[in-house]
Symmetry: C2
Subunit: 157 residues, 2 copies
DNA sequence: GACAAAGATGATAATTGTTACTAATCGATA
DNA sequence: TATCGATTAGTAACAATTATCATCTTTGTC
């Protein structure tokens, strides 16, 4: 999936028009987010960038992820267990499927979100601004791996 | 809504069959949870019970909420901002509508959850165990109150 | 290319919600 | 009522996130 490139340029452009500086760290963080299809955590982004930026501070990752979020270019997925994962490819509300064992997060193809949101708005009188729809389960890989851990394990906390 | 009474008895019964003691604090916490239709936070439960149990520890509330959750009698709603709310009336996965201004949480009447879960399972190969569906918006009260705070404000964090 | 102003970084302290720990107390059964 | 194990209150420990601040970098201009 190579649409990471388009997203990268798109985000950089938005930063420019909003008058933000383009530091190497910032650009690397953006690249890490859009290149990953794993919905990475801040820790994962940080760990990955330490290879090229040994002095990269965790605070910098947090700051930039928050900035991107505030610009609407990243979707933050906070989970009840305190873990946070980020989606830089589809920065708008959409469903997720989470493997409770290996923490893999998949974006299922579903169109029903919008319709559902409108139905909920009608039923409750709320003006719906956003939504979150998470399904938790066991992915095929983990199912196949039996009781043991899944090969593609990517723990988030 | 008086089904709180039934839930109370139900939960007490389950605690008994699982060999847990029925302390006054524990019973009061259960009552507070099932009597509230506000999806209270731990802090709210604690604050409310301080009136009758001035020495009630915050840790006790956490412990008991976790116990009820582990018994499947309470549904924990963790939000990305770190706040946690608890539903003792419908302790199973279901949709929620959250007012982002006053933090009110409403349970809309929707049946589509189960069907949707099956569709997602089919589409992704996951064995779906649970789900969360949260809509975020502005409730009618807050909308009417304009830019100012909502009268029924019940901040969670 | 050098300059000034605004913004960004790195390191660490502070904060916050939650969990772990301990000694003392309480509940349920015989 | 005696006994044992569960539970409590209080507090320390924890972990994830945010705030702070001195230093350094980027940007736009000359």
């Amino acid at each position: 999936m190579a649409d990471g490139k388009g997203r990268y340029a798109q985000i950089v452009q938005k930063l420019k028009t909003h008058g933000h500086h383009l530091t190497p760290q910032r650009l690397a963080i953006i690249k890490a987010i859009v290149e990953s299809d794993r919905h990475p955590s801040v820790e994962e982004i940080h760990a990955r960038l330490r290879k090229t930026f040994p002095t990269m501070s965790l605070a910098t990752v947090y700051r930039n992820v928050m900035l991107l979020k505030s610009l609407g270019e990243v979707l933050a997925l906070g989970f009840p267990d305190g873990s946070n994962r980020y989606d830089g490819r589809h920065p708008f509300p959409h469903p997720h499927v989470v493997c409770v064992r290996c923490k893999k997060i998949v974006d299922p193809e579903l169109q029903s979100g919008r319709e559902l949101a409108r139905a909920v708005g009608d039923a409750t009188g709320f003006r719906i601004l956003s939504h979150r729809l998470d399904f938790f389960g066991i992915c095929r890989d983990c199912e196949a791996a039996g009781k043991k851990g899944c090969g593609a394990g990517q723990a988030a906390k």
